[in-house]
Amino acid sequence: MNPAGLETYIALSALLFAIGFFGVLLRKNTLVIYMCLELMLLASTLALVAFSKFQRTLDGAVFVFFILTIAAAEVAVGLAIIVALFRKRHSVHVDDLNLLKH
């Protein structure tokens, strides 16, 4: 049933994580940065499920539930913060949110 080995899934997960990571580093739009954060979380869930499958235990898959819950809470709080910032500064660009720099 399973065509690819563990290392294929781990490499895939690492690639997905790298894409999300560099999205966070390179993009300027706060909302897109949050989406890239989600990509990184998803990459970690893929690695957990793959390890769980190839070790024949369920612990990794159970951790995915926790990750999903925390990700949902994080998105809600983060978007509320973004909306609050937008109300004050009228921008979602990280270059405009540099109050602590000065």
């Binding site: 997905l16 990509l39 609050a84």
Partner: protein
Amino acid sequence: MADFVFYTFALLTLGSALAVVLNKDAVNAALCLLLSLVGLAGLFVLLDAALLAFVLLLVYAGAVVALFLFIIMLLDTTPGAQKPFGKLSAAAAVLGGALLVVGAHTVGINTPATTGAAHAVPTLKNYAEMLFTTYLLPVQIVGFMLLIAMLGVIVLSKKFATTEAAK
């Protein structure tokens, strides 16, 4: 056949993840994130975790991406006008990504597979048994965290009368 399905889902996941990063329009990026989630759910099904795939689609596609789209349209940010990114940072991104993949690949090769107990079948009953025995405390902590997050969002989005008067 399964090989073809695996590569299709892997390409779908990675390609739309790249599209999330490279897209100038935030709405398009959110829709590409949705596509990437579908690919990831397919990979979960290939890994015998169909339940997790359903939960992923329900939580992410049903709630998170919808929330993202709502906020993007609510804030009405202008797309474009910004360059994706420079040549130097793109080169650094490719190099760093390659290093990360090589490292993770090494970890994957050096990890012995199939050494656990053979009885762990990913059914709903087994998940529930683990969640309510071994991981009971984390479950309760996560529930409490959700409550705190909800309160935090309410506080953040509420306009207080005193601050309004101070203006």
